[in-house]
């Protein structure tokens, strides 16, 4: 009876959403196993598994210690750290899946993606609200912002170089971006209004997780190929011979265009 009272601290809408999300998480795990997609997206599978297990750990802790107890809070943020790490690993694997076959682009992109993640984390930490009570929240927001930035950089790379992204990977990135960008905003509002916002924070967070789950299930409904195709690479010398030459030509075209510009400036 005491247990039931403690669970009542959580709004019914949030409890329902958690239930549906846990159910969908289970469904996604079954789908990944049934379609053997766990071989292709192994870290994504681990992430979904951890997220699914977290639901049960949290449910148990809320039943025994209550929603607002410090023990439950520690368990919630502790498990969230594990899930967050798994999510970051899943995004890293997606980046590798998309770009690794293009060795030159991947070598350049990898450095840029790591640099972006580090800079965003530092920025997020530097401008966050002080005090250790916000440390976990700031860490969560920083990692989510880094994930969102890395996804955007990855997609910019694919667009710039005309690299084809598999439909399933595209849907996975949309789900991750949706979740991460939303949580940055959600955590920022929570940091400011804390207790007043905590109920809505849970409700909105669960809703966006639900949306991401639905997207991922839809994206992974079919079996995924084990490997993306392997392009035939050019010899190393071609790039080093032509890239400066092409850039010089582009610069010449720019200067020519600048001629128009200078005429206009002289007139004015």
């Amino acid at each position: 009876m005491l247990v039931c009272t403690r669970m009542n601290e959580i709004p019914a809408s949030v409890r329902i959403l958690w239930g549906v999300t846990a159910f969908l998480g289970g469904g996604l795990l079954v789908l990944l196993l049934y379609r053997k997609s766990y071989r292709v997206f192994s870290t994504f599978f681990v992430y979904v598994l951890f997220d699914f297990l977290q639901c049960f750990v949290l449910y148990t802790s809320y039943r025994f210690w209550g929603f607002r107890s410090s023990v439950s809070s520690q368990i919630a943020w502790g498990t969230q750290g594990v899930v967050m790490t798994a999510r970051a690993a899943a995004v890293a694997q997606i980046c590798q899946r998309v770009l690794a076959e293009y060795r030159g682009v991947w070598a350049l992109a990898k450095r840029l993606l790591i640099l972006t993640a580090v800079v965003v984390l530092l920025y997020s930490w530097a401008i966050a609200r002080g005090g250790w009570q916000f440390a976990v929240l700031n860490g969560h927001r920083g990692i989510e912002l880094a994930i969102a930035s890395v996804i955007v950089i990855l997609l910019l790379f694919t667009r710039y170089y005309g690299i084809v992204v598999e439909p399933a990977v595209r849907v996975l990135t949309i789900g991750f971006f949706l979740y991460s960008s939303f949580y940055v905003l959600n955590d920022t509002i929570l940091e400011r209004w804390l207790l007043d916002y905590s109920r809505l924070w849970n409700l909105l967070g669960s809703s966006v997780m639900l949306a991401s789950m639905l997207l991922w299930i839809w994206g992974l409904r079919e079996r995924q190929p084990e490997r993306a195709f392997e392009p035939e690479m050019l010899s190393d010398g071609i790039y080093h011979a032509t890239a400066p030459e092409i850039n010089a030509r582009l610069r010449a075209l720019n200067e020519h265009l600048g001629h128009f510009w200078n005429v206009e400036r002289k007139r004015s």
Partner: protein, 191 residues
């Protein structure tokens, strides 16, 4: 506090715009064809070079301003503007075809030089900015009418050997992109 608070919203807004732009499925991959092959080497532009130069000749315009009506002068000005716009478009086409080739080569190269890649991005941004500004000014009527002495150097300075090599590489890149698309399709069909 407010500034920092809103900075997260601003950042997410920028990321959302970039995400929406980059996640769109790109158009069909570039395929060199006999029709645009001439453009790749710049031959088509060179063919019309004397006419373009003539259209911009200052002496012709001075002569007309002294000996014809305002109506004729206006028409000449209008036609000069359309020639300038066509010239701009030709420059842009040259720029874009070079960019396509550069990307195709970079995509299939085992090692890239970051300096060259970022330099190309910088040049692209600069070109896009200048192109749009000049185009708007031309369309608005405040047209800069340049001397085109450098144009012949630009067009005739193209090295046939490099162009041929780049064209071949462009074809290989297009074939690779086609292979990627068909591999993806096969993967989905197998599922």
């Amino acid at each position: 506090m407010s500034l920092l608070f809103y900075s997260f919203f601003g950042l997410i807004g920028i990321l959302l715009i970039l995400f929406a732009w980059s996640v769109r499925v790109p158009g069909r991959p570039f395929r060199p064809s006999p029709e645009n092959g001439e453009d790749e080497s710049g031959c088509r532009h060179m063919t019309y070079l004397p006419q373009i130069r003539q259209a911009f000749a200052e002496a012709d315009f001075d002569f007309l301003s002294k000996n014809t009506s305002r109506e004729v002068l206006r028409r000449v000005r209008r036609e000069r503007r359309s020639v300038a716009l066509a010239y701009l478009a030709a420059l842009r086409a040259d720029f874009q075809s070079l960019l396509r080739m550069a990307r195709a080569i970079a995509m299939l190269s085992p090692e890239l030089a970051a300096i060259q890649e970022f330099e190309r991005i910088r040049l692209t941004a600069k070109f896009a900015w200048q192109y749009q500004m000049i185009r708007w000014k031309l369309l608005a009527g405040s047209a800069p009418m340049p001397q085109l002495h450098g144009l012949s150097d630009l067009v005739s300075g193209l090295s046939v050997r490099i162009e041929a090599a780049l064209k071949e590489l462009g074809e290989r890149a297009a074939a690779a992109a086609e292979l990627a698309s068909s591999a993806n399709r096969r993967g989905l069909d197998a599922g």
